[in-house]
Symmetry: C2
Subunit: 211 residues, 2 copies
DNA sequence: TTTTGTGAAGCGCTTCACAGCT
DNA sequence: AGCTGTGAAGCGCTTCACAAAA
């Protein structure tokens, strides 16, 4: 049934898409079957087929053939379904060790994300660091974010400064925040926050490691 | 029913634990009710209570009272259930911008993880960088990892070097890898791998941001 | 009245099984 | 034989509703 994609289905499709992209540019132009996909990403083939069947537009007929799925056809469908078919601008807030590690980041795959700016309250850093994107002092955040239509912020400031910086981002129009600071952010509900905090990652890993 | 914790239940308990720790050291020594927890972490109170009820040892009686749950009692129970009641050593492999950002990392909460070593193939970096943990040249990885019983590796090397480095870790006895390099690792099944890759995080965030 | 704790109902996702096709 | 696509069954998690206690 098109239109309904569970949380888990979206996650599987994300993995599938990544795998298909790798597969496509690794030479082999052919189709990918659900059986192959099962071996590569680990989910049952039936589940994968069901997920894919949810992507179909109304009355567009089959997505795959009995030879399998064509990555060239499937990847765009997944992107559309996941809302990844649009370019989004993001910025890095806080250019310490972590922030400056990301400031030269250019996603190797077809860039659906564009690094549009970097900010730091320390003017020295802004002037010294080299980056592919323009760097600005922190007081220009609101202006730059709204002028360029930046939608996502990578929050790399120290924990003490995180909440205030996040609020500035939100007020300026940012709609999603990747929070690398070890604090929980309290923001209006329409802002999506995703925490990337080392302790949590370590814990999640340890939990999976079982005993 | 003790013993059965779904994937999602474990994730909720992880969040709950984090919240309880914050709550406990923020002064207020009192109990936390499921209603408060609902407001703080967002999951329905019934679900939270069910999750907690799964923690109970056999015949130990109630975990909470009608005043709520005592963090001092609950947090250890959660840690035990999630296998986080044991100290684990980890190391940082690759001391570039990202790796060196983590080399001074000391988790603010009661450290259930101990940074035991850092490695880099560039001997200069090893000698120049300052860190709370000892740093070694890469060729000593196998020896140091097994000598100290390091269980987890933070893989911060460039993409080209990731697979080889991961294999060295695995061979030396590491049982979990936090992979910051933008490549999928192929490792024996008993090694847990958790990818922390910026593009994936951005995508996941964008998906949640909907339209 | 608030709370926890829990059996049972409800519901959504996964899995099965099979039809149709190459 | 393989493959996709899909209704239906199965099952697991969440939610409900209520008992018991403070």
């Amino acid at each position: 049934m098109p239109g309904t994609l569970s949380e888990s289905a979206r996650e599987r499709l994300l993995q599938l898409m990544r795998m298909l992209e790798k597969f496509a540019l690794s030479g082999e132009g052919g189709a990918v079957t659900s059986t192959q996909a099962e071996q590569l990403i680990g989910w049952p083939r039936d589940t994968i087929r069901k997920d894919i069947s949810c992507l179909g537009g109304p009355g567009e007929g089959a997505i795959g053939s009995s030879a399998g799925y064509d990555p060239e056809l499937l990847v765009p469908l997944i992107k559309r379904a996941l809302g990844l078919d649009r370019r989004r601008k993001f910025c890095v807030v806080g250019l310490g060790r972590l922030g400056s590690a990301y400031i030269n980041f250019a996603p190797p795959e077809l860039a659906e994300f564009e690094l549009a700016a970097g900010f730091d309250s320390n003017v020295n850093r802004v002037e010294i660091l080299k980056a592919t994107a323009p760097l600005y002092p922190a007081y220009k955040m609101a202006e730059v974010i709204s002028r360029f239509g930046i939608e996502i912020a990578l929050l790399c400031v120290p924990a003490e400064a995180a909440q205030a910086a996040a609020e500035k981002c939100a007020a300026a129009g940012v709609r999603g925040i990747l929070n690398f600071a070890p604090v929980a952010l309290w923001l209006p509900g329409e802002i999506e926050v995703r925490n990337v905090y080392l302790t949590d990652e370590l814990r999640a890993l340890a939990v999976k490691m079982k005993n």
